[in-house]
C-alpha cells in the first residue's frame, strides 16, 4: 500500500458539464457513453500510430506497482502498441527525494532529467510542482484533464495532474464498539476512556496518521488559517499548533502501547486485524481492500467523523525540458489514464477514488466507494506537512 499520500480530492470542485470519452479504448467507453449520452465528448488528439518511448519513475507500495504493471500500462500498450514505457519503481518511495533532486538539477541546467513522468509515494511531486519543475497541464495537451476537479489542480497550481485518490476514515471493531464516535471530540474522549485500544501511525511513515494529527491541530485554527496552510507555506500560522500538539501529547498514555506509534499504515491495519486495537485511522482504499481480502475481519467497519479527515489525490508530473517528442507520448498516456474506463480500473483495483469527478463514473463503479462519500477537507501543503511532522516528532512521542 501507499506509504504516504497527500492532498485532496475535493468534491466541491468546479462543475464539469461534459464527460470525456477516450476514443477507442475498449468496451468501457461505450458503457460510459451510453450512461452520459448528453455529455460532450473530448476528441482524442493522439493517434494510435504514435511511436517511441519514455521513462516513468513511480514511488509507492506493491499495489501501486501492480496497478501500473498489470493493469494500466498493458491497457495503454493495447491502445498504443508502438509506445514503450520504461517503468522504474521505488518501493515505499525510498528514492523519491533523490529523484526529485536529480530532476531539479536537470531543470536548473535546462536539460532532460531522463524521466519523462514522475509519481511519488511522498510529497515529492507536489513539492516539485510548487517549485515549478513541471510542464503545466493544459486541456489542449490532455483533454481529459478537464474532468479533474479544479480544486485538485489548484493544489499543484496546474503543474501536475492527479490520477487516483483516497481519503482517511475511522475504522472500528463493531463487535466491541457499539456506538462509534461521530465527532473528533467524541473520538478523543473514547481514546481516553479506552486506553491502549486506539492507534494512529507515525506521520513520517503514513498519511493516515498525518491526517488524524491535522484534524486535531485544525481544531485550534481558524477556517481561513487551515485554508491558507493548505496552499501556502505560512510558517507564522504554525505557532497555532501548540494546543493541538499538547492534546496529542496527552494521548501518549492512552494510545496503543503507551505511546507506540506504528511505522506505517500497514502496521495499523495489522493491529486492527489482530484485535490489538479496537479503533484506528486508516486509508479508505487500503482498509476496503483488506476487508475484501479477509485481512480485516468483517466486524471492522469504516465511518466518517466530523470534521472529516482529509483526502488525497496522487499526482503525476512531467519535468520541464523533457524532449518534445516524449512529452507528446506522455500526454497521450495521461489522457488515456484519465479516461473513464481506465479510472474505473483504478477504482476497482485499488478500491480508491477516481481522479476525475465521481459523478462521471458509472453507478456500479460509484457503489465501490461512495458509501463513505468524497473527501471534504483540505490537507496541509507539502512544506507545511514537513514542518508538522518535525514538530510532532519533537513534541508528542
Amino acid at each position: 500500500m501507499v506509504v504516504k499520500r497527500r492532498r485532496l480530492l475535493v468534491g466541491a470542485g468546479a462543475a464539469v458539464s461534459c464527460l470525456t470519452l477516450s476514443v477507442g479504448f475498449g468496451a468501457g467507453v461505450s458503457a460510459a457513453a451510453g450512461r452520459t449520452a448528453h455529455a460532450k465528448a473530448h476528441a482524442n488528439p493522439y493517434p494510435k500510430s504514435l511511436h517511441g518511448g519514455f521513462a516513468f519513475y513511480s514511488g509507492g507500495d506493491t499495489n501501486v506497482e501492480q496497478l501500473w504493471q498489470d493493469v494500466l500500462i498493458p491497457s495503454f500498450n493495447r491502445a498504443y502498441p508502438h509506445i514503450k514505457i520504461n517503468y522504474v519503481f521505488s518501493e515505499h518511495g525510498t528514492n523519491d527525494v533523490t529523484t526529485l533532486d536529480r530532476v531539479a538539477q536537470a531543470v536548473k541546467n535546462h536539460q532532460s532529467s531522463g524521466f519523462a513522468l514522475l509519481e511519488s509515494a511522498t510529497n515529492a511531486v507536489e513539492l516539485a510542482a510548487r517549485q515549478r519543475l513541471f510542464i503545466p497541464v493544459t486541456t489542449k495537451a490532455i483533454p481529459n484533464s478537464a474532468n479533474v476537479p479544479s480544486a485538485s489542480m489548484a493544489v499543484v497550481k496546474n503543474d501536475a495532474v492527479p490520477y487516483r485518490g483516497s481519503k482517511v476514515v475511522l475504522a472500528y471493531n463493531s463487535a466491541t464498539v457499539k456506538n462509534p464516535p461521530k465527532t473528533l471530540a467524541q473520538l478523543l474522549s473514547w481514546i481516553k476512556a479506552n486506553p491502549g485500544k486506539f492507534a494512529y501511525c507515525n506521520p513520517s511513515g503514513g498519511g493516515s496518521g498525518q491526517y488524524f494529527i491535522e484534524d486535531v491541530l485544525n481544531q485550534y485554527l481558524s477556517k481561513s488559517a487551515v485554508n491558507t496552510l493548505a496552499f501556502n507555506h505560512a510558517t507564522s500560522l504554525e505557532a497555532g499548533w501548540s494546543k493541538g500538539m499538547a492534546v496529542l501529547h496527552s494521548l501518549n498514555s492512552d494510545v496503543y502501547g503507551n505511546g507506540t506509534y506504528p511505522a506505517g499504515n500497514t502496521q495499523v491495519l495489522t493491529l486492527l486485524g489482530s484485535g490489538a486495537v479496537q479503533m484506528a485511522v486508516v486509508w479508505s482504499d487500503q482498509s476496503t481492500s483488506a476487508l475484501q481480502d479477509g485481512q480485516l475481519p468483517k466486524s471492522v467497519k469504516l465511518t466518517d467523523i466530523t470534521p472529516a479527515f482529509a483526502g488525497s489525490p496522487v499526482y503525476l508530473g512531467v519535468p520541464k525540458y523533457t524532449p518534445k517528442n516524449q512529452v507528446r507520448l506522455v500526454d497521450a498516456f495521461l489522457n488515456f489514464i484519465l479516461s473513464v474506463p481506465q479510472q474505473a480500473k483504478v477504482v476497482k483495483r485499488l478500491a480508491g477514488f477516481p481522479a476525475i469527478k465521481v459523478s462521471l463514473m458509472t453507478a456500479t463503479v460509484k457503489s465501490e466507494f461512495t458509501a463513505l462519500g468524497e473527501a471534504e477537507s483540505l490537507p496541509y501543503s507539502a512544506q507545511v506537512v514537513s514542518d508538522m511532522e518535525r514538530v510532532w516528532q519533537q513534541d508528542v512521542p
Binding site: 513520517s204 505511546g259 518535525r390 516528532q393 519533537q394 512521542p397
Partner: protein, 330 residues
Amino acid sequence: MALSSGPLSAELTAGVAVTDRDPSPARRPGKRRRASDEGTRGGLTSLLGFLPLAFLLVFGGIPIVLSLLLMLGHLGGPNSAVSSLGQDEIPGRGIGTLGAITQLFENHAYLQDISATAIVFVVTSAVVLVFATTLTLWHRLRPSRAIATLQFLAVIPLFIPVVIASFSLWTFWGSRGFTNSLAQLAGISNALIFSGKLQGVVLAEVWVSLPFAVLLMRAGVASLTDSSLDAARDAGARPLTVAWRIALPQLRKEATIVFCFTAVGVLGSFTVPYIIGPSSPLMLGVDAVNTFSSYNQPQQAAVIGFTIFVLAALIGCLYALGSRRRRVGR
C-alpha cells in the same frame, strides 16, 4: 609502486628475465614485442589499480565533501539543487557556519537520539560477540550435535530479507504476539512486549548480525592449534579455563572485527529500528532519513550523517587499536 609487487607483475618480471638470458639476434624482435607488451600490461595494471580508487573518490569522496559543504551552509554550486528544495536552511559565508550543527546539538531530543544509538550499538555488539564466541568455541572444545545445530540455526537469518524479518519480529513481539501471549498464559500481563522499544531493536539487531559473526568466529576458532588446547587439557585445565586462558587470547583479532563490524552495521541500520523501534528516541539512521525526506531538511540531515560518520570513525579507531595490539603480542 605497491601494485607492481602483485602476481601479474611477478609474472612480467619473470618474462623479462627469460628474455635477457637469450640475447640471440633472431629473438630480438620478440624481445621488443615483449617489452612493449610489458609496458601495456603495466599500464593496464596501474589502470585496474586506479579504478577502485577513482570509484571511491567519485561515489564516496565527492558526496562526502559536498555533504560537508552543505552542512557548513554552502548552498550554492553542486548543492544548489538540493538546497533549492530544502527547508530551514542556514546559509554560511566564508568558511561556513556551524548554525545547523548547533541547532541540532542544542536540541535535547537529538542528544537523546545519539545516546540511544550508542547504547544500542554497544549492547548489540557485545551480545553478538558473546553469543558468537560461546557458540563456536563451545563446539570446538566440546563438540556435540546440539551445538552444531545451534550454529547452523544462527546462520539462517543471513538468508532472510531484513524487511521481512523486521515485520515478523514486530508482530512476534507485539501485544498480540507469541511472546506476550506466552506471558499472559503464565499470568503476567504485557511483560514480554518488545515492539516499539529499544530492547526490541537490540534483539532484532542481534538476530540480524549473528550469522556473520558466527561465520567469522568459526573461522577464527578453526585456526586454533590442537596442540595448545591439548597441552592445557593434559595439564588438567577445565574447558572453561582452556577457553579463557588459551583460546580467547588468540581470538582477540577476530573478536575485534566482530565487535566493530557489528557496531558499524547497527550504527547505519535503518529498516530494523524504523519498523521495530520506538517513535522516540530514534536511532540516527531513522533520524537522518526522516530529516532528509519527511522534514525536508537536507542541511540538518547532513549534520546527522556526519555524526554517524564520527561515531563510525571512533569504531574504526577501536578496530585499528585491536589489530595493532595483536601484532605487538606476537
